[in-house]
């Protein structure tokens, strides 16, 4: 029984991890049809924000939950104004430009902090016991945080004026513009929000993964797969894809070890896309957020 509980917790963490890493990307993709190839680097910047802030003596909780999203969100707004806004409607060019941005950020962080970061942050919550089995309390916190984050984004999109404008722009940007919505500002805010959530995710994952300039590459494969398999509905897509692929990953990892887990994730996603080319929400939960 205890074993089962520990196993379920592991599964839940696998799913939450994918959902957390993918959410920022999904918001930008769902709203603007832009795949941000620098997403991994935004996560990396979130991690570095936490490292720098804790080195300066700031409380780790404030650094992770407030500073990381603020800093990366601000960077995201700057990026949108300087780079992305020139490329709306040119989908492939947006991909290429964000890839250039990704390389640039890796290079810049390497130049500032060096290729390795010695500082490791220890998780602020210790292990907790589930019956006879020990499990990481921090992972439990991450699961709760992911659920809270999804609920928060849902509430913003569903019940606020801003969310209404954002959804309207997402469905028909020309009509929204005619009705007096500044679509350019909506896009800026959306990109900022997506970046902020990426920063938050990078910040809270930093104690588990550590931070190096190239850490983005380990995140983005998972994030892309989750978002693409999910399709265009932001929350339902990310959640359902994370659920399916996360469970797959956890099962294979549990049976064969971590080497094949990611491969199974990718294999499942490719087969899924063969059957449903526009992702899970291209076929199911079409009307959802």
């Amino acid at each position: 029984m205890d074993f089962l509980a520990a196993l379920i917790l592991q599964f839940a963490y696998g799913i939450a991890n994918l959902a957390l890493v993918g959410l920022g990307l999904a918001i930008i993709f769902g709203m603007m049809r832009v795949i941000n190839l620098a997403h991994g680097e935004f996560l990396m910047l979130g991690g570095y924000t936490v490292v720098v802030a804790t080195n300066l003596g700031i409380n780790i909780w404030i650094a992770m939950l407030i500073l990381a999203p603020l800093v990366v969100g601000a960077i995201g707004v700057v990026v949108e104004r300087v780079l992305i806004r020139f490329l709306y409607g040119r989908v492939v060019d947006t991909l290429l430009a964000t890839w250039g941005l990704s390389l640039f950020l890796i290079g810049a962080v390497t130049a500032i902090f060096g290729p390795q970061t010695a500082t490791t942050i220890s998780a602020p919550i210790g292990p907790i016991a589930v019956g006879d089995y020990g499990t990481s309390g921090y992972e439990l916190f991450l699961i709760v945080l992911t659920v809270a984050l999804f609920s928060g984004v849902f509430a913003i999109l569903r019940y606020t004026k801003l969310g209404l404008l954002a959804r309207g722009t997402m469905q028909r940007s020309d009509m929204a513009a005619v009705l007096g919505v500044s679509t350019s500002q909506v896009y800026m805010a959306t990109f900022g929000l997506g970046s902020a959530i990426a920063g938050l995710a990078g910040g809270v994952l930093a104690p588990i993964t550590g931070v190096v300039p190239t850490i983005g590459a380990t995140y983005i494969a998972k994030a892309f797969i989750t978002v693409i398999s999910g399709g265009t509905a932001i929350l339902a897509g990310t959640a359902s894809a994370a659920g399916l692929l996360g469970a797959m990953n956890s099962i294979v990892t549990y049976l064969t070890g971590p080497t094949l887990g990611e491969v199974a994730l990718l294999g499942a996603a490719i087969v899924l896309l063969r059957v449903m080319p526009s992702g899970i929400t291209g076929r199911f939960f079409r009307k959802s957020l």
């Binding site: 060019d93 430009a97 890839w99 640039f104 130049a111 983005i220 896309l273 063969r274 080319p277």
Partner: protein, 354 residues
């Protein structure tokens, strides 16, 4: 007229290629020759991406998957067989087959361009992560240890008829340059053939091509597999140039560089990506010798600037400048004449309207 200029251009390229092939080893130092062998391997990777992306319109961000696959297949087979000719053939087959398998899911699923780019990128990153984890003694194929992060040894090419005779670096250069010329002119022939023309038609307008009765999925699959095979040749050469194969062949840096070569050189040309590869290879080696700029930063900036300012790349841009200036000198008189005609037409049109 156009055809004639086309053929003259190809002959010039062939002559320059042959001069470099037979001249370079006598002029340059051995170290440079060995480096050039690696650069030629990368140029083949660029060529394959230029073919697939520029002529097939297939946005493949992970061409390095087939490149690395070829390198690993070569190294593993060469270690197991004790001779390299078979290993080269298997490596090319591995690249092409893997591309065909992946292509089946992507083209027959009809996933969109953006998804295709991201999926291919993900494939190469996952191969990178997978091979990095294979460091234990239990991960081996035949007698070849995969070696995790450090990679595995790639035996140098041998003379096909004598397994004891290994190629010297200089001879390896001849082989590499020969392979590059062969693949380049193979691609030139391919895009001028019926098959290549249909691929270009599909790139221009997939729906129209399908309404004319061509199965776009099959043509894309064919082109993608050929691209995978050429990338694998590049992988074999790079494995020879470096002497090892490591998971880094699959990593984000190479994948990004392949895109940069094509963007800088020019989409829709075959020469552009090859020259782009040599140019960027030279740039990164130069950046490596000084410590002011981080090479990733510079490459990122180059990519961003080209996308924003010169999205067609250098070779087409230079070509169109040349064409415009030529036309300007030829047709100045014509234009004067036509302008007069237009003026006459406008006045008569105006009277008609009233």
């Amino acid at each position: 007229m156009k055809l004639k200029r086309d053929i003259v251009g190809l002959v010039v390229i062939a002559i320059i290629g042959l001069v470099v092939m037979f001249g370079a080893p006598h002029v340059l130092q051995l170290f440079t020759i060995i480096n050039l062998t690696t650069a030629i391997g990368l140029a083949l990777l660029a060529l394959s991406l230029g073919l697939v992306w520029g002529y097939g319109g297939i946005l493949c961000f992970g061409q390095t998957a087939f490149f690395g696959m070829g390198a690993y297949a070569y190294a593993i087979c060469a270690q197991n067989f004790g001779q390299t000719s078979g290993a080269v053939i298997i490596a090319i087959g591995a690249g092409a087959t893997f591309a065909a398998m992946l292509g089946y899911f992507m083209f027959f699923g009809r996933i969109s361009e953006v998804y295709l780019g991201v999926i291919t990128l993900t494939v190469t990153l996952i191969l990178f992560n997978l091979l990095r984890r294979t460091s234990g003694p239990e991960y081996k194929i035949g007698s070849a240890l995969l070696g995790g992060f450090n990679g595995t040894n790639a035996p140098p090419l041998q003379v096909p008829w004598d397994a004891q005779l290994m190629l010297f670096p200089q001879q390896l250069f001849y082989v590499s340059m020969g392979a590059l010329l062969l693949c380049y002119f193979g691609c030139v022939w391919l895009i001028r053939s019926q098959f290549g023309q249909v691929c270009v038609a599909i790139r221009e307008n997939e729906v129209r091509a399908e309404l004319l009765g061509y199965d776009a999925r099959l043509y894309k699959l064919g082109l993608f597999s050929i691209g995978g095979g050429i990338a694998a040749v590049g992988g074999v050469l790079v494995a020879n140039g470096i002497g090892r194969v490591t998971p880094d062949l699959f990593n984000l840096t190479y994948a990004a560089q392949a895109i940069i070569w094509v963007i800088v050189g020019g989409r829709g040309t075959l020469l552009g990506p090859v020259l782009g590869a040599f140019g960027v290879f030279w740039l990164t080696s130069w950046l490596g010798t000084q410590s002011y700029f981080n090479s990733n930063m510079v490459l990122g900036l180059v990519l961003i600037l080209f996308v924003l300012l010169l999205p067609r790349g250098l070779v087409p841009a230079i070509g169109s400048i040349a064409k415009v200036s030529q036309q300007r000198t030829v047709s100045r008189r014509d234009r004067m004449r036509s302008r007069r005609r237009v003026a006459r037409f406008e006045t008569s049109g105006a009277t008609d309207a009233t």
